[in-house]
Symmetry: C2
Subunit: 357 residues, 2 copies
């Protein structure tokens, strides 16, 4: 007999704010995601310098606000990295790989604006990203799909320590770490409309006119951030429209009369889900669903349409099942591991090994 | 008993010159290809306005100079297209699909400069091209791999007639015709170093410093063509170096003392190849090898390292064998059709069905 812990693995959008200005951007990222009906968690990583006021504002729109500090003494590598202070901001973003309470995440830079529901991004695998217009065999690291993993995080830090970053930022590091992106797997090439840099409006105008209407995420790449202007005619008409959209998203809930916590409550999907097992009735608890039974079981009827993988772990959190094990263990019956289509449900069978029902 | 015609299918680089200035560019394309030891044919398409002097110069460096005229009365579609005069230049380039004397080609714009041997491009299939930095889900049509086909040519003209070109040029037309390029097959994404636009030197300098040393084909995209300047310091140092390289390539054989035909003779590989058959000794004749026998045969020992496919046709030029037929016809024994690696030989067995040797 063994004890089982069934972990429900969450999906999340993640962004990062390293200054109070970028907190404005992060707020717009979250609001634009919610307004377009995302059902995923929305998380912001902040650095310790962020003011208390900004943190409170972020807590109103994000499911989780996580303070990250690359100089934290728990970072076993930080001493050896002290010689490379210019990589500090890089490591801050790379910290997203430590968010292992989530199984898969989509990172969005705080200078992006989401124009429609983009939950289908979670169908992609690590590392999926759109090409960078500056050098299109590199991906732009403003929007990417990744799988949190402490192992990957350590390898990224190690890579940074040994090779640095060819552009001094996270994009150079991530491109040299995930160096096969441009040649290996077309499914990891996000369409450019998922990370449409505003500069591309000018660089190939006919293409923008042809494909720009399908834009899903706008990236205010470069020095002209929307929070620095009020859309007062400094750029092109198209650029002004995007800046205006950004401000609309920012101001819509920032009026003094609106209760601070209301937008989050209104827009979030109910998180309660019932999981049924042959041996137990299970209610989903965020961030993990825990099931303790004192005998071997099969899974029978846990259904949740956002799940993309199920791990079963024993009380010491050691995995009992991995993709591909199938029925060979004699313990668990699970569907073959594969990517789920949008809106598709995952049905797992949870039942006692010796059925009594 | 049947008659067989064995066609030897050629590979070629193709460029296009529509003005006498672009003839200078086309000359550099051919010379840079030859200097880096290409073993493929090099072909230029020219429009009727090109001067006699330029044509003579082109004949010294190209294997074939082909005059194309979109207004030619043989173009059955031209009447219906007269209403779209802006597409004229587009159709001129699209004419490359009519070069069916070649089985596969690599198109190079006349404003490109080849920096090393790029014969491995023929391992790719239609339509392979590198991303355009302006809108990286579009390919840049300055360098692309294609398979000449009158059927494709007709479909391209038809597409142009019905949908036009979103940028008024060949790039818009080709991108909407080969619209799956960005999402379907990573092997059709040529690395950016095969079509490195000079503007990318500035747009993401760290990436250029990291990857630019591997550049294979430089593309002088935009208005500043190298033949318009003498590398006199108008651009960046890197740009000047590329312009200077271009002029070196252009001037090296354009001195009055050099006999006009010499470079071509010196640099071209001998084209004679002996093909052996169980029933016949065959000598390769450009552009096609003809074998007439009056009984059924197998292929036995035709070997040529540039071939990428063999068709057998009867006297009416109808194909007797197609990839995948294998031995099922009872007539021909051929190797399974597959792509050849660079420098790899294709061995075909040519022998009588009832061997007497």
């Amino acid at each position: 007999e063994i004890e089982l812990l069934l972990l429900y693995l969450l999906l999340a959008f993640v962004t990062l704010a390293t200054t109070d200005s970028y907190c404005m951007g992060a707020t717009v990222v979250a609001r634009s995601l919610r307004r377009h009906g995302t059902t995923r968690h929305i998380v912001v990583m902040i650095t310790p310098n962020i003011s208390e006021q900004s943190r409170l504002a972020l807590k109103n729109v994000f499911d989780d606000v996580i303070v990250v500090d690359v100089m934290d003494s728990e970072d076993s590598l930080h001493l050896s990295l002290l010689g490379r202070p210019e990589l500090g901001i890089t490591f801050t973003k790379i910290h997203c790989w430590t968010l292992t309470q989530y199984s898969k995440c989509v990172f969005l830079d705080a200078d992006t604006l989401v124009l429609c529901n983009v939950d289908e991004l979670f169908e992609r695998d690590e590392l999926s990203a759109a090409p960078d217009p500056g050098w299109p065999d590199c991906f732009n690291s403003g929007v990417f799909v990744f799988r949190p993993s402490l192992h990957t995080h350590t390898r990224l830090l190690d890579h940074a320590r040994h090779h640095g970053s060819f552009d001094g930022g996270d994009q150079g590091l991530l491109n040299s770490f995930f160096s096969g992106w441009s040649v290996e797997d077309i499914s990891k090439h996000l369409p450019f409309i998922y990370n449409l840099s505003v500069s591309s409006v000018y660089s190939y105008l006919p293409a923008f006119q042809q494909f720009g209407h399908g834009a899903k995420i706008i990236h205010f790449l470069g020095g002209d951030k929307p929070w620095k202007s009020q859309g007062n005619g400094s750029g092109s008409r198209t650029m002004e429209q995007f800046v205006s959209l950004w401000w609309k998203e920012y101001l819509i809930h920032t009026t003094p009369s609106a209760p601070a916590a209301q937008p989050k409550q209104e827009q979030k999907k109910p998180q309660q889900q019932v999981w049924e097992g042959g041996a137990a009735q299970l209610t989903m608890v965020q961030p993990a669903l825990e099931l303790n039974v004192r005998k071997k079981i099969y899974l029978t009827a846990c259904m949740y349409h956002h799940i993309d993988m199920i791990y079963l772990k024993d009380c010491d959190r050691k995995p009992l099942w991995k993709p591909g094990w199938g029925q060979q263990t004699g313990v668990l019956l699970l569907l073959p591991h594969r990517k789920l289509d949008t809106n598709e449900s995952l049905l797992c069978i949870l039942k006692p090994k010796h059925r009594s029902m």
